[in-house]
């Protein structure tokens, strides 16, 4: 069994869907820093994707700094440095602005937006989303 699963839907490149599922697994702590990441071969079998597609997902995750390739050992989940909350929040600021602008354009009140945010936040809680 792999530490994460993917519900594939048409229209989004398959490797991107694998990347998102892995990001989610790392964000929820289902995959922790220092743990081995599934091999290309294992993912290819489990997800019915070609090795090329799975390799592309791994490369994207390595480039994003979420995985590290250790020669002779394999691919590991990277140990992320505990980020300074102030810097992290300012990095997200631009995306939050964009979200707020879009919400206002579509006439979504702050209350509804906050509820959606809280919902998305809770959906990621590991205990609740564990299958």
């Amino acid at each position: 069994m792999l530490p994460f699963s993917v519900q594939f839907r048409p229209g989004v490149p398959a490797y991107e869907q694998v990347v998102r599922a892995a990001q989610r697994a790392i964000a929820t702590g289902r995959l922790r820093g220092g743990e081995p990441f599934p091999s290309v071969r294992a993912m290819s079998r489990e997800f019915s994707l070609t090795p090329n597609t799975c390799q592309k997902a791994v490369t994207a995750l390595v480039n994003a700094g979420l995985l590290e390739v250790r020669p002779g050992v394999g691919t590991m989940v990277a140990m992320l440095p505990a980020s300074d909350p102030a810097t992290a929040t300012s990095e997200l600021r631009e995306r939050i602005d964009q979200l707020v602008i879009e919400a206002r354009q579509r006439g979504i009140p702050l209350e509804t937006l906050s509820r959606s945010l809280a919902q998305a936040w809770n959906d990621l809680e590991p205990n609740e989303s564990d299958e």
Binding site: P10, R45, T50
Partner: protein
């Protein structure tokens, strides 16, 4: 990486003057899965048959695994597996008898690999092919075409007429082959959902011509279905970018498919017709939807 398939300006004109394939230039690098798609009668099967030296091209040449396709012989077919759409099988045999019959022709036949594939495909080897369903026959044909670990596997419509379970097993079988060293798969199919999962590149053939050949990911990335509110008295649908397909207006909205979507070019195009990019809804298209858009466009281009 060397090319498993390389054709340059490949053509086939039948003696009555019908052109089945016109100037096909296609490159399939080793270790990739290429899907040949296109409407019925587009020339897909003919193209595959030329590659396999089953019919002779009338123009230019094709190279498979580095060899001229018109000179492919028994030795080459020890490295090339082929399953045709209406694969003929000896119906009086069981799959086991058929495989035992084929084995001596292939020095690289791998019984262990064959065993693994039979398991993945879940095929009863002891029932006469005559009594087998289409799905079981296709599985037997796939086994026969892969048990010798071909470097190149060519499949014509492998999924047609298979139920979802058999499709999944068939897909697993193909993926097993991709775990091998130095494999390449070229398959023609209409089953876009399967292709979206398994194909690295898509080659779109229509009325004998190759319209495009590009990575599936890139194709999915550049198409967006767009809906955007128009301001009254806007500049109108004149001088639209050529990549905006199926453009229509209604109820104060413009609807179209952007075939070369990028955030910048898109925003620029919208501003030119007096629409606000921030209010546009962009949705990705599945490979199936892209296929329909391209086929319609190609039909329109021919009509014009």
């Amino acid at each position: 990486m060397s090319d498993a398939i390389l054709t340059e300006n490949l053509s086939k004109r039948f003696w009555r003057g019908t052109t089945a394939v016109a100037g096909l230039t296609l490159r399939v690098p080793e270790g990739t899965v290429c899907a040949l798609v296109g409407p019925n009668g587009a020339g897909k099967s003919t193209a595959l048959k030329i590659l396999l030296n089953l019919i002779q091209p009338t123009g230019e040449e094709a190279r498979l695994l580095g060899r001229d396709s018109t000179k492919l012989g028994a030795r080459d077919f020890q490295e090339i597996g082929y399953v045709s759409e209406d694969q003929r099988l000896p119906l009086w045999m069981t799959p086991r008898q058929y495989l035992d019959f084929l084995r001596p022709f292939y020095p690289k036949w791998d019984e262990g690999f064959r065993e693994k594939m039979s398991g993945l495909l879940d095929l009863d080897l002891t029932r006469r092919l005559k009594q087998c369903s289409r799905g079981m026959r296709m599985k037997a044909a796939l086994l026969a075409a892969t048990a010798f670990r071909p470097r190149l596997l060519i499949l014509d419509e492998p999924f047609s007429g298979l139920d979802p379970l058999v499709r999944e097993q068939f897909l697993q079988g193909l993926l097993e082959l991709t775990q091998e060293e130095g494999w390449t798969i070229l398959l023609s199919s209409h089953d876009m959902e399967e292709l979206e999962r398994i194909a690295d590149t898509v080659a779109f053939l229509d009325t004998s011509h190759l319209l495009l050949h590009e990575p599936v990911d890139a194709l999915l990335e550049r198409f967006r279905r767009v809906e955007v509110p128009l301001v009254p008295d806007h500049a109108g649908a004149r001088n639209l970018p050529a990549t905006w397909l199926e453009f229509r207006e209604g109820n104060g909205f413009a609807h179209f498919v952007d075939a070369a979507w990028s955030p910048e070019a898109f925003a620029q195009g919208l501003r030119a017709i007096g629409a606000d990019p921030a209010q546009a809804q962009c949705v990705r298209l599945s490979l199936r939807e892209i296929f329909v858009v391209l086929a319609k466009q190609s039909q329109r281009d021919r009509g014009a």
